[in-house]
C-alpha cells in the first residue's frame, strides 16, 4: 500500500468535517476522491499532506506514520493545492527553480519527469506566473509538485473551473505520469471523471459512501433506471416527479432519469401517464446507470429532504 487511512475524524468548532474515513491507495494506482464542495476532500488532503492534524485516526504513507515522520513524508509527497499557490511575482522558471531548490534538487536532475507537462509552458518561462492563463497555471503547478520526484502525487481539484478540453488533456497527462510509477490521489467534483480512475471513493458531508472500481460501483446499482424523453423537458421532469410511483426523477441532458418506487418499472404505465398529461414524442428505455446516478442514489434520503427545501 502506498497510503493507508484509518478512522480519520476531524471536526471544526463542533462541525464534523470527516467521519471515520478509512481507505487505502495501492502503489502505482490512480485513485479519485469524488464529491461536491464542502464534502471534506480538502480537509482530508491537508491531513494526508501533514498540514493539518486529525482529531483521531491514522495515516500511513509508504510505511511511515504521517504524524511521527512528517518531515520525511513531505519529501515523498507532491501536493497541488486547490487554490493556485505559486508565486505570482516570480516567473514560470523562477517558480520551478524555487521549488526544486527547496527540495534540494535541480530542474535538470528531474527534467525528464516533468518534460511532458513543462514543455507546454516552457515557451513562456520568462512570464510571471500571475500573468498565465488558467490552463497554463495548472501545468506550472503540476510541474512544481513533481520537481522533487515524489512517490505520491496529491492533487486537490486540479480540474475545477477548467473547461472540458483542458480537463481531458489534464487527465491524459495524469495517465502518463501514472505509467511512470507515480501513485496519484486526485479529488474532483466532476462525476464524469470517475471512469478515468482505477478506483474511486465517493464522499459526501464527510462520509465515505463507497470505495470501489468505477465499474463495480455501477454494477452495485440496485434500481432499474429508465431514460425518458418527450417534447417538453421541463414539463416532463415536473410531471414525472408528481407521479405517485416515482422514486426519483432527475434531468440528464436531453432526457429524464427515472426510478420507480417498487418492483419493476412498467414503461407502459409511464407512457400512458405522460400521454394523459399531453406529452408527445415520448421515448422510454432502460439504461445502464452512470457514476452520477449511483452517487445520487447513495446520497442519503436525509440530504435529499434537506436540499429539496
Amino acid at each position: 500500500m502506498a497510503l493507508s487511512i484509518t478512522n480519520i475524524n476531524k471536526s471544526f468548532e463542533g462541525l464534523q468535517a470527516l467521519s471515520d474515513i478509512t481507505f487505502s491507495v495501492r502503489e502505482g494506482e490512480l485513485f479519485g476522491l469524488i464529491g461536491p464542495d464542502g464534502s471534506g476532500k480538502t480537509t482530508l488532503f491537508r491531513i494526508i499532506t501533514t498540514l493539518l492534524l486529525p482529531d483521531r485516526g491514522e495515516v500511513d504513507l509508504f510505511g511511515l506514520d504521517v504524524l511521527k515522520n512528517y518531515k520525511k513524508i513531505r519529501q515523498l509527497i507532491g501536493y497541488m493545492a486547490g487554490r493556485f499557490s505559486l508565486y505570482h511575482d516570480l516567473t514560470v522558471e523562477e517558480n520551478l527553480k524555487f521549488y526544486a531548490t527547496v527540495f534540494g534538487t535541480t530542474i535538470e536532475k528531474n527534467y525528464d519527469l516533468i518534460k511532458d507537462v513543462y514543455c507546454q509552458i516552457e515557451p513562456f518561462k520568462t512570464r510571471r506566473a500571475g500573468k498565465l492563463s488558467g490552463g497554463m497555471k495548472q501545468k506550472l503547478a503540476l510541474s512544481c509538485a513533481l520537481i522533487h520526484k515524489p512517490g505520491l502525487l496529491v492533487l486537490d481539484e486540479p480540474t475545477t473551473g477548467v473547461d472540458a478540453v483542458s480537463r481531458m488533456e489534464f487527465w491524459d497527462m495524469l495517465k502518463r505520469l501514472q505509467k511512470r510509477g507515480i501513485t496519484i490521489l486526485v479529488s474532483t467534483p466532476y462525476m464524469d471523471e470517475a471512469s478515468l480512475c482505477d478506483r474511486v471513493g465517493l464522499i459526501q458531508k464527510g462520509n465515505l459512501l463507497s470505495v470501489n472500481k468505477p465499474e463495480n460501483i455501477i454494477a452495485g446499482y440496485q434500481r432499474e433506471l429508465l431514460s425518458v424523453s418527450s417534447d417538453n423537458l421541463y414539463k416532463l421532469v415536473n410531471d414525472l416527479r408528481n407521479e405517485k410511483n416515482t422514486h426519483s426523477a432527475f434531468l440528464f441532458g436531453q432526457s429524464v432519469h427515472l426510478t420507480r418506487k417498487e418492483g419493476k418499472a412498467s414503461a407502459k404505465q409511464v407512457i400512458k401517464y405522460l400521454q394523459d398529461k399531453g406529452h408527445e414524442s415520448i421515448h422510454i428505455n432502460v439504461i445502464k446507470p452512470g457514476i452520477e446516478d449511483c452517487f445520487m442514489d447513495l446520497m442519503n434520503e436525509e440530504d435529499e429532504m434537506a436540499l429539496s427545501g
Binding site: 464542495d37 513562456f124 473551473g161 488533456e169 421541463y234 432527475f250 440528464f252 452517487f295 446520497m299 436540499l307
Partner: protein, 250 residues
C-alpha cells in the same frame, strides 16, 4: 421562446481589445426574450469579458450593443437596474443573515422598504427559509445558499439574469434543483444567460453559443448542433469545436 422572437440582447460587431490582444473579436449575436441562452467556451475564450460588457461594467472597444432595450455606451445605469447577476464565486455576504442579505440587495436595486418586506416574505416562504430568516449565510448548506442567491439576483424582477458558472462544485442533486429554478424563472418570462462547464447542462438551454479564441465558433439549438457535428451529446460538440489546439497565448 415567443413566436415573434423579440430580442433582449443585440450584439453587433463587438470588439474588446487589451493592448494588441483581442479578447472579443467581432462578436455578433442576439438573445431572445424568455429563452435560456447558454454561453459556452474554453477558459480564456473571452466569455467573462463579454459578460462584463453586457452587464455595463466595461466599455467595449467598438461595436453596437443593446441590452434590455438600453445602449451599452450611455445607459449602463438603466441596464444594471434591469438585469440580475449571480456567480459561483460571489453570491451573498456570508457574515450577515438571510434577511439582511435580501434587504441589502433590495436596497441596491432601489426597491422600497415595503416592497422589500413583501418580497422577502414571499421569497423565504417559497424557499422554505422562514425559520432561517435570522441565520448567517455562512451557516446555510451550499445548496440553500445558491437557491437563495439566485432568488436574490431576480428579487427586482429583472428582464434578464446573468448566471456565471452558478453550479460549479455543487453535488449532482443540488445542481439539478438549481436548474429547476432556472426553468421556473424562464417560465416567468425572465431571460436567462448562463455559462457552465457541465456539458449536460448545455442540453437544457434553448440555444447555446460556443466561443473559441474570442470568436463565436457556433451558435444554435443543442439538437441542431448535435446534428451538424453528427455526435450524441453536447460534450462531444464542445470537444469538436473547442479542441483546436492546446491553450497558448492569452
Amino acid at each position: 421562446m415567443s413566436e415573434q422572437k423579440e430580442t433582449i440582447i443585440t450584439v453587433k460587431n463587438l470588439v474588446k481589445k487589451f493592448g494588441n490582444f483581442k479578447a472579443n473579436d467581432n462578436l455578433s449575436f442576439e438573445v431572445f426574450k424568455g429563452e435560456i441562452f447558454g454561453f459556452l467556451g474554453a477558459n480564456g475564450a473571452g466569455k467573462t469579458t463579454a459578460i462584463k460588457i453586457l452587464c455595463g461594467l466595461w466599455a467595449p472597444t467598438s461595436g453596437e450593443i443593446n441590452v434590455a432595450g438600453f445602449d451599452i455606451y450611455n445607459q449602463t445605469e438603466q441596464i444594471k437596474k434591469n438585469i440580475g447577476y449571480m456567480s459561483q464565486k460571489f453570491s451573498l455576504y456570508e457574515d450577515i443573515t438571510v434577511f439582511e442579505n435580501i434587504r441589502l440587495f433590495g436596497g441596491i436595486y432601489g426597491l422600497s422598504r415595503r416592497e422589500i418586506a413583501q418580497r422577502a416574505t414571499d421569497l423565504m416562504q417559497r424557499l422554505d427559509l422562514e425559520h432561517s430568516r435570522d441565520k448567517l449565510i455562512s451557516s446555510l448548506p451550499l445548496g440553500w445558499r445558491q437557491k437563495l442567491a439566485f432568488s436574490v439576483a431576480i428579487l427586482h424582477n429583472p428582464k434578464l439574469v446573468f448566471l456565471d458558472e452558478p453550479t460549479g462544485g455543487v453535488d449532482p442533486v443540488t445542481r439539478r434543483k438549481f436548474w429547476d429554478q432556472i426553468y421556473e424563472a424562464a417560465d416567468r418570462g425572465i431571460t436567462v444567460f448562463v455559462t457552465t462547464h457541465y456539458m449536460d447542462e448545455a442540453e437544457y438551454c434553448d440555444r447555446v453559443s460556443i466561443m473559441v479564441d474570442g470568436r463565436i465558433a457556433d451558435l444554435d439549438t443543442p439538437s441542431a448542433l448535435k446534428g451538424k457535428y453528427r455526435v450524441k451529446n453536447m460534450n462531444e460538440v464542445f470537444l469538436k469545436i473547442a479542441r483546436i489546439k492546446p491553450d497558448e497565448n492569452n
